[in-house]
Symmetry: C2
Subunit: 409 residues, 2 copies
């Protein structure tokens, strides 16, 4: 029995008409001779609508009851999906996470899959049914239905693909694949045929939202290749595969990302003493504030330097407060916040051995008279922070300089 696992995201099942189109894709896979497992998210805005009902009850809803509430969204999705399959003459059955044998552990709202008892899914597959499983949920040891936290429907699909040993998983959503840059900004951006998990994780860190990092990590660990593709168009999308499956080249830029969702924070006039950087960072870490691109300037003649960070806009106020408290203790001068910045990144492999990749980026920005505020570079990524107004033109210029519209992947 050859099994295909297909996952449909919320936008792909947003209304009954879209559910019917998605069901047709599952049926067409079934008719090709595959046993088909479909993982479905909550339709469209349903999760948000349920959350806002809870918010009208209380500002601090009980986490266990919130799970009892929001898991209904996926249940609505799977039952409508199975109905659509049956109405088209293809036998199908919907299973909630617990009914599909997905066991979870951990706190409500952020549980983890512990194991999948595949007996029930396999029984229905053997009977020729399309098995439609609710994403994002599993059975807690106490009988509760717990949610798996953000990106959880992808995770359900990956875990099922792993448990059923399919080796691959189709992820249908409203994106057509992974591009060399955002096609809405760079018009000759090209869809990649393949990309590695490492590069995808680096892209996620650089602000490109294609798939949740956790699902990709699990897919990589358990050897499940992911096919990211459009639910509304037929062509193949992009395969996310292990690094070693991609022909190694000395240095290769695969994709660019532009992130306008962050602010820059700078602690000005920090005394140049051992332990100071750690103290500043600890202040942020203690408050759970995520940080990217930590840059410390060389000390001035007065024995002070500046420390800069990028952090998501949502954390800007809390981060500034935490840094100001730390600055006062360390007798630093002040804390500056700049929210008119953008981060442009190139992601690929082998950058360490090819300084030319970073040099090309700096060069093209200089020629375009775009000022670079901050730089960071690793083997997989080069990022530059520029003025927000220059973000899109920077992306286009870099895309052209690397020749990404005519690549080989």
């Amino acid at each position: 029995m050859k099994i295909t696992v297909m996952k449909f995201g919320g936008t792909s099942v947003a209304d009954p008409e879209k559910i019917q189109r998605a069901a047709e894709r599952a049926i067409s896979e079934r008719r090709k001779g595959y046993a088909v497992v479909v993982v479905v998210s909550a339709p469209g805005e349903m999760t948000d609508e349920l959350m806002s009902l809870a918010e009208r009850i209380t500002t601090k809803p009980d986490e266990r009851e919130l799970d009892q509430l929001v898991t209904t969204g996926e249940q609505v999705g799977i039952s409508l999906f199975a109905m659509a399959c049956k109405a088209r003459g293809s036998d199908a059955v919907s299973l909630t996470g617990p009914q599909a044998g997905i066991d979870a552990v951990g706190a409500p709202g952020c549980a983890q899959i512990r194991r999948i008892r595949t007996r029930s899914v396999l029984k229905h597959l053997k009977a020729g049914r399309i098995v439609v499983v609710a994403g994002f949920q599993g059975l807690a040891p106490n009988g509760d239905t717990s949610t798996l936290g953000r990106g959880g429907s992808d995770l359900t699909a990956v875990a099922l693909a792993s448990a059923l040993k399919t080796g691959r998983c189709e992820i249908f959503s409203d994106v057509k694949g992974v591009y060399t840059a955002d096609p809405r900004i760079v018009h000759d951006a090209r869809k990649l045929k393949r990309i590695s998990f490492e590069e995808m994780l680096e892209l996620a860190g650089a602000g490109a939202q294609v798939m949740q990092a956790r699902s990709m990590e699990v897919a990589e660990r358990f050897g499940v290749e992911l096919h990211v593709r459009s639910a509304f168009h037929n062509p193949t999308g992009t395969w996310i595969v292990a690094q070693e499956k991609i022909m190694l080249e000395k240095a290769f830029v695969s994709s660019l990302a532009l992130d306008k969702s962050e602010v820059r924070l700078t602690v000005v006039g920090v005394p140049d003493q051992p332990g100071v950087a750690a103290a500043v960072l600890s202040a942020l870490a203690a408050d759970g504030i995520p940080v990217d691109m930590i840059i410390q300037s060389a000390p001035s003649q007065a024995g002070v330097n500046d420390m800069s960070f990028m952090t998501p806009k949502a954390f800007a106020v809390r981060a500034k407060k935490a840094l100001e408290a730390a600055a006062a203790k360390l007798r630093a001068e002040r804390v500056d916040l700049n929210d008119q910045v953008a981060k442009v990144s190139a992601v690929g492999t082998g950058f360490r051995h090819s300084p030319k990749i970073a040099a090309t980026m700096f060069d093209v920005l200089a020629k375009a008279k775009i000022n670079i505020h901050m730089i960071s570079a690793s083997d997989l990524r080069v990022s530059c922070v520029v003025d927000l107004k220059d973000g899109e033109s920077a992306l286009r210029a870099i895309h052209k300089a690397y020749g990404l519209s005519k690549g080989r992947r």
Copy 2:
């Protein structure tokens, strides 16, 4: 541990604000020292909204998947209800039908409760929690969640009250109790303190929609007294109790009902031969058409008579078709349909021994110059079919004639 079972209908939990008010009632009962079990229906129009999603997928949705879909409505209700209790400092937990140990058998969409394993409910009650149970659903032997059919949330409450041996059950809805007649039509209609199950079943048959018949039958059988009351007003409502608990009086009219939802069908010129009535009725029964008030006129000199029935408007077309087929076989003359009729009924006890009750009704209608089309009478009910336009004035006149606004119950 003294346990109260409280059931809140869909209109009582139609939005987060109403859920909060309902939760306050549960908490106030808890603070009086009772262990509290709450049974909750799907909020407001949610069941209908889910059904219409299914209808957009297919005109004949699979019954099992329809159950998987609509049971989410109650799940939304219970989780919001439990959140509201907890947010007010009263510990609570929501349980789906399966989580509450409600085992069901029978086909999806119309399953029956087989038994209730009360262990889980009792454990939470002993821990001091308000236990909020989803109405209308139970666990099928194959692991599915099945619905109990219409009126199922009342049934869940009654079955829980029976299993927990509380002897009574509070039914909160948008009606304040059982009245001597519909207060929107008869302005001095009076709320009854008590009424018997028999009378309530008779009222339901006469078109008064207070509670689903099945739930009342189960309550009577298992000795659960029902308190029908308003979710939005504090005063006590009406207790539905066993006949023997109500002081016996020779004859007593407790309540009137007006039913405008039926049509009259008449088969004209049926040959007066043995077996003809049975043949006409079988034609309706074979098609599953419900019938009330079967009246056969005395035969004419030509040896033919007329047969009349009342049937719900929704069945009118099918019933006429079935009767016309039967009429052709029996060589009857024709089938008439009159949809401008109303049925006015008096319900009570001991009518058989007091012909005065029926006589009073006919007399008051005659004095009001209201023409009576059909009459039927039993020990518990007298019904007259009148012109639709006369229905409300007939109800008011009869209510006055029986002196119901100043009764003793």
